[in-house]
């Protein structure tokens, strides 16, 4: 197998490792639109990275954390609902990002790459970033897992039982921001949310507990990466969309298989 394919596969599986468990919490907490907002903000991060001479991933992480903080701040006033705030932040960040990128002649060429990802161009440095980030993200997630699950089930109950709700929430947002930064290169900013949501949705039918669901999501995510990559090479498809399409096929299969399971026994 060629080196670049191997690197692409490794990078994709590294992303699936973090996208799985985090995607579960995004689905459980009904935060799909939050993931979307951060991925739209990622483009502004790319521009910021170039403007300040940083790695685009660092720029993306910084902007995503800033957007998350902004959202938390805006949520404190209770007059506008969260989905409206997210809509504003999402499209504002995307617009500012596109404008900023428009100012930069050197980046304009790569715009498609950032929007849709370029997994076949993954470098050794990227893989280092991804696996370093994955270890950090999974370690932090393991540390807050219990608190995060408790506050996902019922925030007030968790708080009454001594869970540090605010702190856990902030750490979780930072972890999503990190994941968006890492995943950007693989599937592109427009499709990151798909990688967080679709394998999770596919795993739901087959899990009895939160931990097994997170594990199943990782496996399905890795399968989607491998399948999408294979299809991309074979039929010369754009790699990011091919991975998301493969995940969608897995989701469709899970619906069929789930239908068979539920006719077999009641769940």
């Amino acid at each position: 197998m060629d080196d670049f394919i191997l690197r692409a596969l490794m990078a994709g599986i590294g992303i699936a490792l973090v996208a799985g468990p985090l995607g579960c919490f995004i689905v459980w907490r009904r935060m799909a639109y939050f993931g979307d907002t951060l991925s739209h903000a990622a483009l502004l991060g790319v521009a910021a990275g170039f403007a300040f001479g940083l790695d685009p991933i660092a720029g993306v992480i910084a902007v995503c954390v800033a957007v998350g903080a902004l959202l938390l701040g805006l949520q404190r006033q209770h007059r506008l609902p969260t989905d409206t705030l997210l809509g504003i932040l999402s499209h504002a960040a995307l617009s500012f990002g596109l404008i900023a990128v428009g100012f930069m002649d050197t980046v304009r060429v790569d715009l498609m790459g950032y929007l849709f990802g370029d997994i076949l161009a993954v470098s050794d440095t990227d893989i280092l970033w991804i696996y370093g980030g994955a270890v950090l993200i999974l370690g932090a997630l393991a540390a807050i897992w219990r608190s995060l699950l408790a506050l996902t089930v019922h925030p007030d109950l968790a708080r009454a039982e001594g869970v540090a709700v605010e702190r856990t929430h902030i750490v979780f947002m930072i972890l999503i921001a990190l994941t968006v930064g890492l995943a950007m290169k693989i599937v592109g900013v427009l499709l990151i949310t798909a990688l967080l949501l679709i394998p999770t949705a596919a795993a739901r039918r087959f899990a009895r507990g939160p931990e097994t669901m997170a594990g199943a999501t990782i496996v399905l995510g890795a399968l989607a990466v491998a399948g999408g990559l294979g299809a991309s090479l074979r039929w010369d498809l754009p790699s990011g969309p091919a991975i998301v399409a493969a995940a969608t096929v897995l989701f469709a299969l899970s619906l069929v298989a789930g239908g068979l399971v539920s006719t077999g026994r009641r769940r």
């Binding site: 689905v27 459980w28 009904r30 219990r146 699950l149 408790a150 996902t152 089930v153 019922h154 007030d156 109950l157 968790a158 708080r159 009454a160 039982e161 001594g162 869970v163 739901r204 899990a207 009895r208 507990g209 939160p210 097994t212 669901m213 769940r267």
Partner: protein
């Protein structure tokens, strides 16, 4: 005896609207305190302030040092997207061995549900699981926000019996919120009638005659509060029969019945 929890002159204002106004509420060891009031009276806000979930703007909330609280929130629904068993719900924020989990579930009569998915439980089963969950914390104070709202009358009576049994066994204090006047707990020590401020409070008997109470709930409400005495009177009979009693109550009889039962209960304790 120091109170488990004491609210003194507590006020809460949100967006210029007074939610709570100079509210004094205390719960002591072994007491069952019932908070009643119409919808929007601030009952849940009071509970949240008592638990430290919401900030009070005025007044003081004092919790006994090291107070362990078992809390049953008003609404508890787990998103269908999250697969989770009863066992995992019980151990969300604490660790306990199998024997303790089973004992807690057995105390509320649902031991066989331990490996069920939370999504398949009925309203009554879920309520019992949540009670078991609160029990596992070995609480000094049980805070129950409308525990009977999704139960039918029989289910509500059973729920109250379980709560009373837990109180009798552990000696914990109970703070109970209810908007449903048709059945109130037999063993209630004190009722607070809330409508942003405490309209009246005291023994259920006194409250049901209080003009403020009559103004808030009308004569129909006062009639139903008499049910305290019936349930109290019949607290030793098997459950179920208690329910149909209140259709043919008469006040003169009630009082005799209640006094008798009250003495009974004092000796019992």
């Amino acid at each position: 005896m120091a109170s488990l929890i004491e609210l003194l002159g507590v006020g809460v204002v949100r967006d210029g609207k007074t939610i709570l106004d100079h509210v004094d509420v205390t719960v002591g060891d072994g007491e069952i305190v019932t908070l009643i009031g119409p919808n929007g009276a601030g009952k849940s806000s009071l509970v949240k302030v008592a638990l430290g979930l919401e900030r009070n703007d005025t007044g003081r909330v004092t919790r006994r040092e090291g107070l362990r609280v078992g809390y049953l929130p008003q609404r508890f629904a787990v998103d269908q997207a999250l697969p989770i068993t009863v066992r995992r719900i019980l151990t969300l924020t604490l660790s306990a061995d199998e024997a303790r989990l089973r004992a807690a579930l057995a105390e509320v009569g649902v031991e066989d549900l331990i490996d069920e998915s939370i999504h398949t439980l009925s309203g009554g089963e879920l309520q019992r699981v949540m009670l078991a969950r609160a029990l596992l914390r070995e609480p000094h104070l049980l805070v129950l926000d409308e525990p009977t709202q999704n139960l039918d009358v029989g289910g509500a009576v059973e729920c109250y019996q379980i709560i009373q049994r837990i109180r009798d066994r552990t000696g914990c204090g109970v703070l109970l919120v209810s908007h449903d006047l048709s059945i109130v707990m037999a063993a209630t020590t004190r009722v607070y009638c809330l409508n942003a401020h405490v309209c009246c409070s005291g023994h259920p008997d006194d409250v049901s005659r209080d003009p403020e109470f009559l103004r808030l709930f009308g004569p129909a409400g006062a009639g139903t509060l008499a049910l305290y005495k019936h349930t109290h009177d019949h607290s030793h009979t098997p459950h179920g029969e208690v329910v149909h009693e209140h259709h043919h109550h008469d006040h003169g009889h009630d009082h005799a019945g209640h006094d008798h039962a009250h003495h009974d209960h004092g000796g019992h304790r």
